[in-house]
């Protein structure tokens, strides 16, 4: 038995290392000179260690400001999603009302939109509202992800109705039922949604490039876009930027993963 544990454990470590090897390459690349950058060698670590990429990065990009802006957008969107998506999913999963089918189809319909279809008219709306180049405009299209609504619909459907009915009999209002009773049961879905939304918007450069165009409101993908021009990509600086943000992101992920990979026994569903 112990052998099995050891075997699976080492397998996990090997798998993870192989899996993130490409990421290790970019972290190692942050410390390399450009002439050494894409040498055909397996070793991700530099022979001629240098910090000049970081120096150059700080000259070109206001690293802390970019981190702040990206964090604001991602966290606001994530919280908005875990608050508003269950609100939308709950009636669609758990009640019968006229037009439920219609709204379910609306959710599915908005889920399948390729972003490129809605990008230009959406930009038009943003400009008309005078919100161009604000962080709010960068977050706005992502305050409710239809995919996350669908995710919550999924999870909520499989909670037994008796639980809800008994809560109603006890006099709880619908909002209380949703936020006080149901969400704690599907804690993993909430945690997962937070994480997924955060990740999705963190890197979604198409929209952020369209909306954010000045320096103060620069987010991470926009900063990377600035460093990748037609003729020359400032790989050193891009790798340096990525490496710098790995630490705060790792912290956020580790905090959120407790919601998902929990080791506690969940006792919400009565046997």
């Amino acid at each position: 038995m112990k052998f099995r544990v050891l075997f699976l454990q080492t397998l996990l470590v090997i798998f993870v290392l192989v899996y993130i090897y490409p990421i290790l390459l970019s972290i190692g690349g942050a410390f390399k000179w450009r002439s050494e950058l894409f040498e055909p060698t397996l070793n991700p670590f530099p022979i001629n260690f240098t910090l000049h990429n970081f120096v150059s990065l700080f000259e070109k990009v206001n690293v802390l400001n970019v981190l702040k802006n990206s964090m604001i957008i991602a966290i606001v969107a994530a919280f908005s999603n875990i608050f508003l998506c269950p609100l939308t999913a709950y009636p669609l999963a758990k009640s019968n009302f006229k037009g439920k089918r219609f709204f379910q189809l609306l959710v599915i319909f908005s889920m399948v939109q390729p972003f490129i279809a809605i990008s230009i008219p959406l930009l038009g709306i943003v400009v008309m509202a005078g919100l161009q180049d604000t962080l709010f405009a960068a977050t706005f299209p992502f305050l409710i992800y239809p995919m996350i609504v669908y995710f919550f619909m999924q999870s909520l459907t499989y909670i037994p109705d008796d639980l809800i009915d008994s809560a109603r009999l006890d006099g709880a209002g619908e909002l209380t039922i949703l936020y006080r009773i149901l969400l704690p049961i599907i804690k993993a879905t909430v945690g997962g949604s937070f994480l997924l939304t955060f990740i999705w918007i963190w890197n979604f450069y198409l929209w952020q490039l369209m909306v954010l165009r000045t320096t103060e409101n620069m987010t991470y993908p926009v900063a990377v876009g600035m460093l990748s021009t037609s003729y020359f990509i400032y790989y050193g600086e891009v790798f340096a930027l990525t490496s710098l943000y790995i630490v705060p992101l790792l912290i956020i992920f580790l905090i959120m993963q407790k919601q998902i990979v929990s080791t506690m026994v969940l006792s919400g569903i009565k046997g």
Binding site: V5, L8, Q9, V13, V16, Y19, I20, P22, I23, L25, P40, L42, L84, T88, P91, S95, F97, F103, S110, M111, V112, P114, I116, A117, I118, I120, P121, I125, F140, I144, M147, V149, F151, Q154, S155, T157, Y158, K187, A188, G191, G192, L196, I199, N203, Y205, V224, I233, Y235, V238, T242, I246, F253, L254, Q257, I260, V261, S262, T263, V265, G271
Partner: protein
């Protein structure tokens, strides 16, 4: 009376839908009926002309084929792999599963430029790591990025590598809903781990399975990033995808009308695929 609460709950979504989706999608469908240059005030009504020219456009047909080919590779691979990894990470006795999950998500937060560069380096024909390994074990060097077939294969590998964390998170969330007591009771009754998987895990996991498959389908049909950053559509347009075609129409040819037509086609395809999937899988798997 109490029956009205669903409408109030849906209010934020309705407001959101109208401003973020309804108007832009209406514009897209409307624009697809015109020959309309981006930024121009004059536009010419051509009815279904954009659609007709797309069906005769070799680049569009190649993009369609590529996207479908990619979907058939990507969807089964990513769903089964992420399920396996989620089950693996769900083992209570393994240490470091939290960090493993966090690291699994890293490819999604690294800038696309980096992912593209690293993979072009790994898949380089002459000195790439992958080819070096392949030639060492006797398979030989594969022209990853200069042919259509291997280009799409490479794109599929990169897409699976990049997005697997996403689906693993979804599966893990679903796995957490299974109470330990079920497993404990089954072990007491003498069930093997495979039997535990088949009779406890799998049935409870079915809804999440359907969900993940439909999300994977959605993402597969909207293939863009991997193609854009690695092959830019490949030699010529041989590894182009549908969304890349829409992007090219919009930002290279500046044809807002035609780009909207491509988008409408993508929407319809994805809608049909997802709806059919949800209905079919739900019917067959729910016993």
């Amino acid at each position: 009376m109490k029956m009205h609460w669903p409408y109030f709950f849906l209010l934020p979504f309705i407001f959101f839908f109208v401003s973020v989706y309804a108007y832009p999608i209406f514009m897209a469908i409307y624009a697809s009926l015109f020959k309309w240059t981006l930024g121009a005030t004059a536009k010419e009504f051509i009815g279904l002309g954009n659609y007709a020219s797309l069906l005769a456009d070799e680049e569009f047909l190649v993009s369609l084929e590529n996207t479908l080919f990619f979907a058939t590779l990507y969807i089964p691979a990513v769903v089964s792999l992420s399920l396996m990894i989620a089950l693996w990470l769900n083992q209570k006795f393994l240490r470091g599963t939290g960090i493993a999950l966090a690291l699994l998500l890293f490819p999604l937060i690294v800038p696309d430029v980096t992912v593209g560069a690293i993979w072009r380096w790994l898949l380089a024909e002459q000195n790439g790591v992958v080819n070096n390994i392949l030639s060492a074990i006797g398979i030989g060097r594969i022209p990853w990025l200069s042919t259509r077939l291997y280009g799409m294969l490479g794109v599929a590998i990169i897409a699976i590598w990049r997005t697997i964390g996403y689906y693993t998170v979804m599966f893990l969330s679903g796995l957490q809903a299974i109470p330990q007591q079920y497993y404990e009771a089954a072990s007491v009754d003498g069930a093997t781990s495979f039997q535990r998987f088949r009779y406890i895990t799998l049935p409870i996991l079915t809804p999440i399975f359907v969900f993940v498959t439909s999300i994977a389908t959605l993402n597969a049909m909207q293939l863009f990033t991997e193609v854009f950053i690695v092959t830019q559509g490949g030699p010529g347009f041989s590894t182009s995808s549908l969304v890349l075609k829409a992007y090219n129409e919009l930002y290279i040819a500046f044809q807002f009308g035609k780009a909207s037509a491509v988008s409408v086609i993508i929407e319809l395809l994805v809608l049909v695929a997802v709806v059919v999937q949800i209905k079919y899988i739900a019917k067959t798997l729910v016993k």
